[in-house]
């Protein structure tokens, strides 16, 4: 039998329920793996010393008949999620010693569901980055090849799940931060519809774009996780009161006859699309075709403006959201912000300034509406859209760190979903010749997560890339 930490969430939950093993055993296995692997990967910033106690408590609840699907499951949290009494750093020196006084809503829900929190995960500080290198706690390595980046910003989340240090991990996705690292590490990453999951208690990056997601080993796990985190939160007025379905219900349903659009702007017309990514993507389309999917070429006309639009709106909101770390509280002066945060603060401050607002922020908001309309139109024709997650495979650590524009271009396929507020599911789609993982993303209309899980699950079960594990 494989080690318990290698189980998927569903398998682990089943084992716990059938009392094949305890949460304490499962948690111990994860902690052992962290102990063994994290020296090389650097996925964790802080370990929660109470993990085994939490596991003991969970075992008690299991013994008393509680069968919540996440009960006793060891998970880890991106370090943007506030955890009461447990240090939360945003991977920045600015909050190096910050102990929150409250739990994020998602953390509270997960705790109530009985998860075991192993610790807090590394990421690009404040969520700024696509490589996991913009952190004050040292870059996270890709478990598939430690010379390569794991993708960001949820770098530690992807790397820890991929290397079986935890069963699942939370992530955030403002421009691709859950989907991109998931693709780079061969795990499943969800960016839910904007407002589907509460943002309360999660350190804000760009408030109109931030989506609270998670990274899991399988699509089914992703659905199980969303069952817990989704829903209206009275403390976040951007979470509408739309009922939360059982997201596992759509799993296993046939996708025969489902219409899936492939935007030509993402494949044939975009510069810089890696040939290997393109050929893997074509394989994906064939695979989907075999499953009975109707593939249709579509157009998302304003795609070429998306990145520009994103890199105006996002830094603008960043500059405002980071203003509170002013050196008066939190004990760290503003000069301790990293280069990337400083760059975004400057950029955002500039574009919001009098005389520039109309030319930048306002125009970007107008473009954002056009991008939204593009998707709305497209979803009149097709049920879902599929694209590569990233135009390139993972790159080497250090390769793009001095070229922010190049780094920003890796977001080019993912930012549109954030601008439009729609959900996206990143699913493993095979490996490059260098044995580096890649991923596809499935996009759907707002609040269509069930459909994404249905398509993702069918594709995943047909291709079974998730079964491959990195050699550590």
């Amino acid at each position: 039998m494989s080690k318990l930490n290698q189980l998927s969430l569903r398998e682990a939950a089943e084992g716990l329920k059938k009392k094949k093993f305890s949460s304490v055993e499962l948690t111990k296995n994860c902690l052992e793996q962290i102990d063994k692997a994290d020296k090389q990967i650097n996925a964790f910033i802080t370990l929660d010393k109470t993990a085994l106690n939490q596991a003991k408590e969970a075992d008690g609840r299991i013994a008393s008949g509680n069968d919540s699907p996440l009960l006793g499951i060891p998970i880890a949290l991106k370090d943007l999620f506030l955890t009461k009494d447990l240090r939360t750093t945003a991977a920045s020196k600015i909050l190096e010693n910050y102990i929150p006084v409250y739990d994020a809503t998602v953390v509270r829900k997960l705790k109530e569901a009985g998860v075991v929190i192993l610790g807090k995960l590394n990421h690009d500080a404040w969520g700024h980055g696509a490589s996991g290198e913009n952190t004050n706690f040292g870059p996270t390595k890709n478990p598939w090849n430690k010379d390569y980046v794991p993708g960001g910003s949820s770098s530690g989340s992807a790397a820890s799940v991929s290397s079986d240090m935890c069963i699942a991990a939370t992530g955030t996705d403002t421009g691709g931060s859950s989907r991109l690292p998931a693709a780079f590490c061969n795990v499943v990453g969800l960016k839910p519809t904007y407002g589907r999951v509460s943002r309360y208690g999660i350190i804000a990056m760009s408030s109109s774009l931030d989506s609270i997601g998670h990274l899991t080993k399988t699509v089914e796990d992703s659905a199980l996780f969303l069952n817990i985190t989704a829903g209206n939160d009275p403390q976040d007025p951007t979470t509408p009161n739309i009922p939360v379905p059982d997201y596992t219900k759509s799993l296993g349903k046939s996708i025969k006859g489902v219409k899936i659009g492939v935007p030509r702007e993402y494949t044939t017309e975009v510069g810089g699309l890696d040939t290997e990514i393109l050929s893997l993507f074509e394989k994906t389309l064939k695979e989907l075709h075999k499953l009975g999917v109707e593939i249709k070429e579509i157009s998302l006309k304003h795609t070429e403006y998306a990145n520009a639009c994103y890199y105006v709106i996002q830094p603008a909101e960043v500059s405002s959201n980071l203003a509170r770390y002013d050196g008066i509280r939190y004990g760290s002066a503003r000069q301790n912000f990293g280069e990337e945060a400083k760059r975004r603060i400057m950029l955002g401050t500039f574009t919001l300034s009098a005389g520039y607002y109309d030319a930048y922020y306002k125009k970007a908001m107008q473009v954002r509406t056009l991008i939204k309309n593009d998707f709305e139109k497209a979803f009149n024709e097709v049920d879902a859209i599929i694209t590569p997650v990233s135009p390139t495979p993972p790159w080497k650590i250090g390769e793009k760190i001095d070229d922010p524009l190049k780094m920003y271009l890796s977001d080019i396929f993912t930012v549109t979903a954030n601008l439009a507020g729609i959900p996206g599911l990143s699913v493993p789609s095979g490996f490059t010749k260098n044995n580096l993982p890649t991923g596809i993303q499935i996009l759907g209309p707002q609040f269509s997560e069930e459909r994404l899980f249905q398509v993702g699950y069918a594709y995943e079960q047909a291709t079974r890339f998730f079964e491959r594990k990195p050699n550590l």
């Binding site: 506030l82 929150p100 409250y102 403390q235 976040d236 405002s320 300034s353 009098a354």
Partner: protein, 437 residues
Amino acid sequence: MTPVIGLETHVELKTNSKMFCGCSADYFGQKPNTHTCPVCLGLPGALPVPNKTAIEWCVMLGMALNCDIPQFSKFDRKNYFYPDLPKGYQISQYDKPFCVNGNITLQNGKRIGITRVHMEEDTGKLIHENVSGEDVTLIDFNRSGVPLVEIVTQPDFDNAKDVIDYLKKLQQIVRYLGVSNADMEKGDMRLEPNISLRKNAEKELPKYKVEVKNINSFSFVEKAINYEIKRQTEILNDGKTPIQETRGWNQAKQKTVTQRVKEEASDYRYFPEPDIPPIHWTKSQISNLKFQIGELPEEKFKRFERDYVLSNYDAEILTRETTLADYFEETVDLGKKHGLSAKQVANQIINKKTEIDKILPAQLILEIIKLTVKEDIDKDKLRKIVKEVLEKNPKIRNDYKAGKKNVLQFAIGAAMSMVGKKIDTKELIKIIMEELK
């Protein structure tokens, strides 16, 4: 030269909870930093949840000031750095305020335009203190996030007296609506006049503007405006232009002093608050709020004059505050059974300065009755006195014939003093009229 004066007024609402969190908004006199939570402390991850009551009150205030209520409105972030502002921005409203285009009519009939009425949050409070020998600045966040409504007028005033009249009217309306105590001493109302001067012939607004910040008393506003008019007149008379700046009122020195010289336009980098979805009012929501507004001072005043046949003076006093007006109406209602007139009740309340929080209306009626018990007097004796008065004062008859009816008051007074005790004036007037015919 003519003064051009506009006014910005901040009114703190007396909602139970703060603008964007559940903390108690009643901070006055409380131990520092006891009414706080992650939201009003601006802690990482915290999100604002707008206070529905505060928004409704803001809209109702706008309606009472004859504003239009646009169906679309939103909150914006006003970004600036100050230690009492924990988020680094204030949630306010920029280009889509809840209320626009209102007006208020002053006592003298002059109409003052209201540009806008919008909703925002208050800041924390800095306290400069010496703690164990060290000069320190402490921050109390109890006030942080308390709902504030800002009312901005057009630059329609040309003298301080009108400004004070406006402020009294505004304060009265706010209190009538019950949305704020508008207690100056507690900082419920903060006033910021902006003052400049133009040549009498000019139509355009002057090219500069001096703002006097954060005044917390009507009389200081009056003094500050008058001081500024004098100061600016002198500068202009020297052929210079006063600089555009923010000044403060120094009560000790009885003058305004420079606080900061403003850049062309202060750059608050406003942008739509992404944490709060925009507000779309339905027509029925708006009309429902309108329906909730009770009688406003102007209407009550007119009704008192008309229905209770009161003088302008009495009606004005009795309608200054709703508590007094309600007390009056209740007393009048009770007094009817005892044959008391509204005028009698009004006289008692106004002239005797009734302590309405100590004397119940029923008690007051007993007092009035006691005072109005009339002693009987022989009609013939009364007629004799009247005749005597008219003989001694032939002017009464002459004036009366000339149409000067006021002279009757004099006749009554003269007769009463000869009677020397309280009598029923109706009977007396009847006799005087008969004798004058």
